[in-house]
């Protein structure tokens, strides 16, 4: 079963070669046997999953129409609200909280007859690049369990890479889908800001957050994107632009396509083995008919600082609601202020506190102009860089992350080193542009390397076409880690 793609599983279920229930049971079995090694899941919804699978089988038995993901098991990042099922953001402050409503993407995958099997681990409130900031436990990289999964959608990447589920949903604020996908050797897409509804995604940084798919192959990721993309009345930042058919033109090749190579993304700090693998990938795409051109993104060096001002400013406001009043953790104290302080002191982890303080500071009277406002201005400059670069090319190619998966604990004492892990992915969030990470090789230790493609606004099709072309010429995405 774990060798099958989401597409194949779906086809076999529709053809009644296999039941959705059997697929679901196999996935649950795989989770039971494997998850203790990689720790992707925070909560498995065995009953809910089996009920959903049985519902699909019932429909099929009655020859009723089923959705495009019928019977495909899927893991959900634990910052996506699931009605009546715990949603914690991997934080103690939300431990035990059961949302009374469903996130739009969850509604959509359910409507597509996918089978959500549970909630997966993440850095607390999506703040982190290694999943080590989860309040519960870190997730392990299936290629080397000493190493991190990447983050913040670490659980999503691990669940897919370990073959427990063919599909997962994650969220990406500064690289949180693409970086763990890269570190775990799978495909991850951050769609254009506004392509997918954020309703029910517990906000970290509202102007940067975007939900996206993680999968073994580009085709599977495209199938899931197709289901979740599109207008939602509940999210005013979600576009009402029509959603194209993503899989339709995926096979049409990239002859004549111009790929831009930003010099700033291939300079210092880039691991030589990662660089070599990405250089090779360039060659593959060139051989497939693409033209390579150098482009420049001159404000790249400011992107990290810009990101950490805007994201933390928004986070400081978004996370203020965890005050112990209405839901989640409440610490007992003598008065209101003391209750607030104790609740937040006990409920939040160190990185979350660090970012709340940073963001509060950036927005404070007397500092706003120098920090937050300046960051917004630089954000505009970075957006302009990309607009100009896209005058010369159709798509931009970079490494996803400067390194492969690092050892657990290696960067936990040095937040800045950890932040650098997202140096190549952050700009797509600041600009709202779509990005994808696809596997493009392994280093000498057998750890996966990811290739990032960044597309024009709302041009996910071009991303998918290029990524699919690359996969049709390589077999990196077919490699699987060996787990007991």
């Amino acid at each position: 079963m774990r060798e099958l793609s989401a597409k194949q599983i779906h086809e076999k279920i529709i053809a009644k070669e296999i039941t959705a229930t059997a697929v679901c049971e196999a996935a649950l079995q795989r989770i039971h046997s494997t998850d203790s090694q990689v720790k992707a899941f925070l909560a498995v919804d065995e009953q809910g999953a089996l009920a959903a699978a049985k519902a699909v089988d019932r429909k099929l038995a009655k020859n009723e129409p089923v959705g495009p993901l019928a019977g495909v098991p899927i893991a959900l990042k634990d910052n996506l609200c699931t009605k009546g099922f715990p949603t914690t953001c991997a934080s103690k402050i939300l431990a035990g909280w059961k949302p009374p409503y469903q996130a739009t993407v969850v509604e959509r995958v359910r409507a597509a007859d996918a089978v959500p099997v549970g909630k997966v681990n993440m850095d607390e409130f999506a703040m982190g690049s290694s999943c080590e900031n989860s309040a519960f436990f870190p997730s392990n990289n299936p290629w080397n369990q000493e190493c991190v999964s990447g983050g913040s959608s670490g659980g999503s990447a691990v669940a897919v890479a370990s073959g427990m589920v063919p599909l997962a949903l994650g969220s990406d604020t500064g690289g949180s889908i693409r970086q763990p996908a890269s570190l775990c050797g799978i495909v991850g897409i951050k769609p254009t800001y506004g392509r997918v509804s954020r309703y029910g995604l517990i906000a970290y940084a509202s102007s940067l957050d975007q939900i996206g798919p993680l999968a073994q192959s580009v085709e599977d990721a495209a199938m899931l994107l197709q289901v979740i993309a599109g207008c939602d009345q509940k999210d005013s930042t979600c576009t009402d632009m029509a959603v194209p058919n993503y899989t339709e033109q995926m096979q049409s090749g990239i002859k004549g396509l111009t790929i831009g190579l930003p010099q700033e993304y291939f300079s210092e700090g880039l691991d030589p083995e990662v660089k070599a693998a990405v250089e090779q990938a360039k060659q593959v795409l060139q051989d497939a008919g693409a033209r390579l051109v150098e482009v420049t993104l001159p404000h790249t060096e400011y992107s990290l600082a810009t990101y950490y001002l805007i994201a933390t400013a928004e986070a400081s406001s978004n996370l203020a609601r965890y005050d112990g009043v209405q839901y989640g953790l409440r610490a007992e104290a003598d008065n209101l202020i003391a209750m607030y302080k104790a609740t937040r002191a006990q409920g939040f982890g160190a990185e979350v506190k660090r970012r709340i303080m940073l963001g509060t500071y950036a927005l404070s009277a007397g500092y706003y102009d120098a920090y937050y406002k300046k960051a917004l201005q630089v954000r505009t400059l970075i957006q302009r860089d990309f607009t100009e670069a896209f005058n010369k090319c159709d798509i931009i190619l970079t490494p996803t992350s400067p390194t492969v998966a690092f050892r657990r604990g290696e960067k936990t004492e040095d937040p800045l080193a950890m932040y650098l892990s997202d140096i190549y992915t952050i700009s797509a969030n600041l600009t709202g542009l779509p990005g994808i990470s696809i596997p493009c090789g392994f280093n000498s230790e057998g750890l996966p390397i990811g290739l990032q493609l960044i597309g024009k606004v709302f041009d996910e099709q071009m991303l998918l076409r290029t990524a699919q072309t690359y996969q049709s010429h390589t077999d990196w995405h077919t490699k699987r880690p060996i787990l007991a």
Binding site: L94, P99, S206, S317, R321, D323, V325, L363
Partner: protein, 490 residues
């Protein structure tokens, strides 16, 4: 010797818009429902929820701002105002900071020195907070053993109307609030009910020696829940500041709470303790573009404003300033009066008479019954008809009152009542002449008294005729004919 001081006042008025649903979700806004029954994940600020702007809120706010003669922005955006309080479930209020919906307005108020224009700095949109009920004797959060939160009001749409510091006395502030309330009632964007909290007001007050240009240090006054409260609080605060200055002290910049029971205010927080709200653009809501069409549509929806209407009523219908005021005190009243007046005028009856009947009889009865003009059992056309019958002499004024009372109860047309009760006044001279002759014959003594010069006796004789006619004779005619007969017979 006491110096002459000038009081400078600016008002911040929060008004709940009377849209059917809340500003960022579909929950109803009805007042007085069971606690936490008009809530949803969005207005409860649950993790992951997002606001979606209610378009009706936008049109109501535009209309209100236009009524305050404001310039409507082409682009407006929302911002987050961050602070912790248990009645604010997101720990930020979605408000507007540097791109408000509208700016640069003014409204005209009537003062003892005539009309005065008060500047409106801005009108912006925001969401209301919830309500806390503290479980303690004084209802204070500090001493409460526990507090309950009711989020029904959370997310009810508000506009904040900020005035320029153009007001110079508590009376002017009162006049401003009265005028503003009238305008808002007229534009039908709010019920402006202070008891239900749909109109709230904070006042910024400072004093300065008359002639000085620089403004004095201001104090912000909160917690006033009636116009009278506001007037008292401003008067108290101005006196307090003047006393501080006269004693050689300095006015502190602070926020003070009015205590209506004690008639005093006390400091709530100093400038140093003021919140840093860390405003920043609300990333969950796109910038709103206000099209010219949208603004023009609302401009069209604007009714004639109360002051303009008052002046027109004086000119067009010859009402006194006082009567014009009564007839325009609510849009419903103004519409009722004008409808009746138009019908009366077309029947060649004076609008002033209609006005008297409406403002004295009808208004008196409605008030006694606690009813609004909109629930009047007598239609405006019926009031016009009643005055016509009286002015034409079909019934006497006294009969009119009886007919009115009947109309009020039954809702019947005055003519129907007159007919049913056979009330129609006798205005036939021959008939009256017959009755007069009979009364003169039957009352020789009073007739003699009259003739000897004691003319007041005529009153008795008129009364006798009226009695004989069972009150139906036209008293004017009776009086005239009686005099003719008596005088002729000399």
């Amino acid at each position: 010797m006491s110096q002459d001081y000038e009081i400078v006042i600016g008002l911040e008025v929060h008004v709940e818009l009377s849209t059917a649903s809340k500003i960022f979700c579909g929950c109803p806004t009805t007042f007085g429902a069971e606690p936490n029954t008009q809530v949803c994940p969005v207005c409860l600020g649950l993790p992951g929820t997002l606001p979606v702007l209610n378009q009706q809120v936008l049109t109501f706010a535009i209309r209100a701002a236009l009524a305050c003669n404001c310039q409507i922005a082409q682009h407006t955006k929302f911002d987050r105002k961050n602070y912790f309080y248990p009645d604010l479930p997101k720990a930020y209020q979605i408000s507007q900071y540097d791109m408000p919906l509208a700016e640069h307005g003014s409204i005209s108020i009537d003062t003892t020195q005539g009309e005065k224009s008060i500047g409106i700095t801005r009108v912006h949109l925001e969401e209301d907070a919830g309500k806390l009920v503290h479980q303690s004797q004084g209802g204070q959060i500090g001493t409460a053993a526990s507090s309950l939160a009711d989020y029904n009001r959370t997310g009810v749409p508000l506009i904040e109307i900020v005035s320029e510091p153009d007001l110079r006395s508590a009376d002017e502030a009162y006049a401003y609030l009265t005028a503003l309330k009238e305008i808002l009632l007229y534009t039908k964007v709010s019920d402006c009910n202070m008891e239900e909290g749909s109109l709230r007001c904070d006042a910024n007050i400072s004093v300065r020696p008359r002639g000085q240009e620089a403004l004095g240090t201001k104090a912000e006054l909160k917690n006033m829940n009636s116009f009278k409260n506001i007037r008292d609080a401003i008067e108290y605060e101005a006196k307090r500041q003047i006393r501080v200055l006269e004693e050689g002290g300095k006015v502190e910049q602070e926020t003070r709470l009015w205590d209506a029971d004690k008639g005093t205010s006390h400091s709530m927080r100093s400038k140093e303790e003021a919140h840093d709200y860390r405003y920043f653009p609300e990333p969950d809501l796109p910038v709103v573009y206000l099209s010219e069409k949208m603004i023009a549509d609302q401009q069209q929806q604007l009714p004639e404003m109360p002051q303009a209407r008052r002046h027109r009523f004086q000119k067009e219908y010859g009402l006194s300033e006082y009567d014009a005021g009564v007839c325009t005190m609510s849009p419903a009243m103004a519409e009722y009066f004008e409808d009746a007046a138009k019908k009366a005028v077309s029947a060649k009856v004076s609008a002033k008479t209609v006005c008297n009947w409406i403002t004295v009889e009808l208004q008196g009865k409605l008030k006694a019954d606690g009813k609004e003009i909109s629930n009047s059992p007598i239609a405006s056309g019926q009031m016009a008809e009643l005055t016509r019958l009286i002015e034409r002499g079909k019934i006497s004024g006294k009969m009119g009152k009886d007919v009115f009372a009947d109309m009020y109860v039954t809702g019947k047309d005055p003519e129907v009542i007159v007919q049913e009760k056979g009330l129609s006044q006798i205005s036939n001279s021959d008939e009256i002449l017959k009755m007069v002759a009979a009364i003169i014959a039957a009352n020789p003594n009073p007739v003699a008294e009259y003739k000897s010069g004691k003319t007041q006796t005529i009153g008795f004789l008129v009364g006798q005729v009226m009695k004989a006619s069972q009150g139906q004779a036209n008293p004017k005619l009776v009086n005239q004919i009686l005099r003719d007969c008596l005088d002729k017979n000399i």
